[in-house]
């Protein structure tokens, strides 16, 4: 399943998508993200997968500077994910 976490408001579309079929629950994204955006929890089908913390889905556009900007600053969720399960819409 592809889970899109985030929102769209007047200033743009901010979604981080996690493919839970690819995700193996390793938690490297959670450990690497400088803003602590991710966590690993059991989903509705009892599989441990990464997700954006429920408390942060509405402020994701303000915490995460976006794929390009974060990438230029160092290791990020994409660079450490072994299965390429994460996508950014900005």
């Amino acid at each position: 399943m592809k889970a899109n976490y985030g929102y769209q408001d007047g200033s743009g579309e901010y979604y981080i998508a996690i493919d839970t079929d690819l995700c193996n629950g390793c938690g490297k994204c959670a450990a690497t993200c400088p803003k602590g955006i991710f966590q690993v929890t059991p989903d509705d089908y009892d599989k441990d997968v990464a997700r954006v913390r429920e408390s942060l889905t509405r402020s994701i556009g303000m915490l995460c500077p976006g794929y390009e900007r974060c990438r230029s600053r160092g290791p990020n969720c994409h660079s450490v994910c072994p299965t390429n399960a994460i996508e950014h819409s900005w």
Binding site: M1, K2, A3, N4, Y5, G6, Y7, Q8, D9, G10, E13, Y15, D44, Y45, T57, R58, S59, S89
Partner: protein, 267 residues
Amino acid sequence: MKTAGVDVGSLAGKALILEDGRILSWGLVPTGPDSAETATEAMDAALKQAGLTLGDIEFIVSTGYGRVVVPFAHKNITEISCHAKGSNYFFPGVRTILDMGGQDCKAIRCDGTGKVVNFAMNDKCAAGAGRSMEVMADLLQIPLVDIGPRSLNVEKGEVSVSSTCTVFAKSEVLAHLRQGAPTNDILAGLCAALATRVYGLLKRVGIEPEFVISGGIAKNVGVVARVEQKVGLKASICFEPQIVGALGAAIFARETLLKQQKKPVTA
């Protein structure tokens, strides 16, 4: 086998009882300040309808924003999954669901068994939820239920509302009124703008027939018509869009119990 699902939403609490895979009864109550209480009230209403007690129900799943505080639930499952399951009950061919309530909007893709394959939710921005319509109904001093039908009765031409933000859109609407635009034409513009936002969310998950709309927005014919136009598909709407979440939860309860008892889960 009797199972139940409880859906505590921001505006209404719903409970539904399933007997051997068929709807037996349901209850619908307004959400109060205490989610646990709301859940109990909704459950009591459903039990009363069916002439049962809580002890008769073998497994209960809770969902909705208040799902973790339902004291008598055995398990909780997100509303995304429950909506897909519930929609699948009414429309086994459903593959794309749009659910919009007062606070949020969800786009869900599912397979033939009602399992979610893709979803996106927007609960940050009022402009993408039913709330934006409530704000405008208040501003224009007309009943919420009139918005849909009136928006289809355009007089001079649909008035474009360009601001995404509900707060800025309010100023735009007032400016249009001052310039003498008919209210129906403004409502048409507002419904069109909401349909456009919704379409954006649907495109994120991809659109495939059968297309189902649930939640309060299903009752707004103006938005439904415009979304259908954009999507290019007719929308299926069940007879009571508000109970879909609780129904899905009750079905999950049944499936969990069958798995525990090592019995086959019939589709």
